[in-house]
Symmetry: C2
Subunit: 177 residues, 2 copies
């Protein structure tokens, strides 16, 4: 099996943060890479609830389990009890999945769930620090907490230098969503 190449101490926690475009797409690309290598991928998306184009494409590939756990239109309102429950349940499901032999775990937009305090940061840190000793885990989203960055082996920050929305061009299907 693919994952036998992994040894204790070889896992890593990879955090992709910053205000620029390309965090989720980067995690998708990493998933594609792992699937291409014959590995299995656990892809969980927090906060977002819509089945975007990229998720549809991802589902077509063999070896990936996709969990979209948020609701639509989260961003424009304050979180409520359902958001809290969904995030909690999602993270619990991820913890169960850690018992399984995935070669890559993606927790897309987990940083946003932490930013809104939908899940306890202490709990998340404890789970991720332990799990990433053996497993490869990618966490994305703006506002990555400092404590999370400090336990990560790799941190990338995507900085927005220039963005066409600001020039009045609309978001389009297949490009932004």
């Amino acid at each position: 099996m693919y994952n036998q190449m992994y040894k204790e101490g070889e896992g890593m926690l990879f955090v992709i943060t910053g205000n620029g475009k390309g965090k989720t797409t980067s995690a998708l690309g990493m998933s594609l890479r792992m699937l291409g290598a014959g590995g299995r991928v656990f892809f969980m998306q927090f906060i977002k609830g819509k089945e975007y184009s990229e998720i549809k494409a991802l589902r077509q590939l063999e070896g990936v389990d996709v969990h979209i756990t948020g609701r639509e239109c989260f961003i424009r309102r304050d979180p409520d009890e359902e958001d809290y429950q969904r995030a909690q349940n999602a993270f619990a499901l991820f913890q169960e999945a850690l018992q399984d032999s995935y070669d890559l775990y993606v927790l897309d937009e987990l940083n946003i769930a932490l930013y809104y305090e939908l899940i306890s940061i202490d709990h998340v840190l404890k789970v991720l620090e332990e799990a990433s000793k053996k497993k490869d885990i990618v966490v994305t989203g703006r506002y990555a907490p400092e404590e999370l960055k400090s336990i990560a082996k790799m941190v990338s920050e995507v900085k927005e230098i220039k963005h066409h929305y600001k020039e009045g061009i609309q978001a389009r299907k297949g490009i932004e969503f």
Copy 2:
């Protein structure tokens, strides 16, 4: 057809640069998104010559044409006549493909080809500025030239904050390649 939603003036040039991990993976994720939306993708990789895992996975998807145009082990030596020819031919092939109805064009590591002066920057700027009026084009790689950034509608810089190679962990299949 999908691409009929595009109108004159709606294309964009998107540059992903910086020293951090996640530029090619981000372009792969964008490709996945476009394919999931039912669009067609032209994916061209400069400089690199190996069929990495992610390329294998990408090829499995319907609607994408993949062109890997470099040679193995470019990075550790100076460019020679073959590198120059390959880059020139690749860019010419891209120009031909512009006549076709792809919904997204990815020129992965083109910045590196420009950095090594394998293709004329003036020629590339002229072609991309004109083509991106109607087409969506993504250019990746470190050292994006300032002139390229200035004609782009969107620029993301991936900054390396922390990297595990520096802690002595080896690159592994499915994760880094």
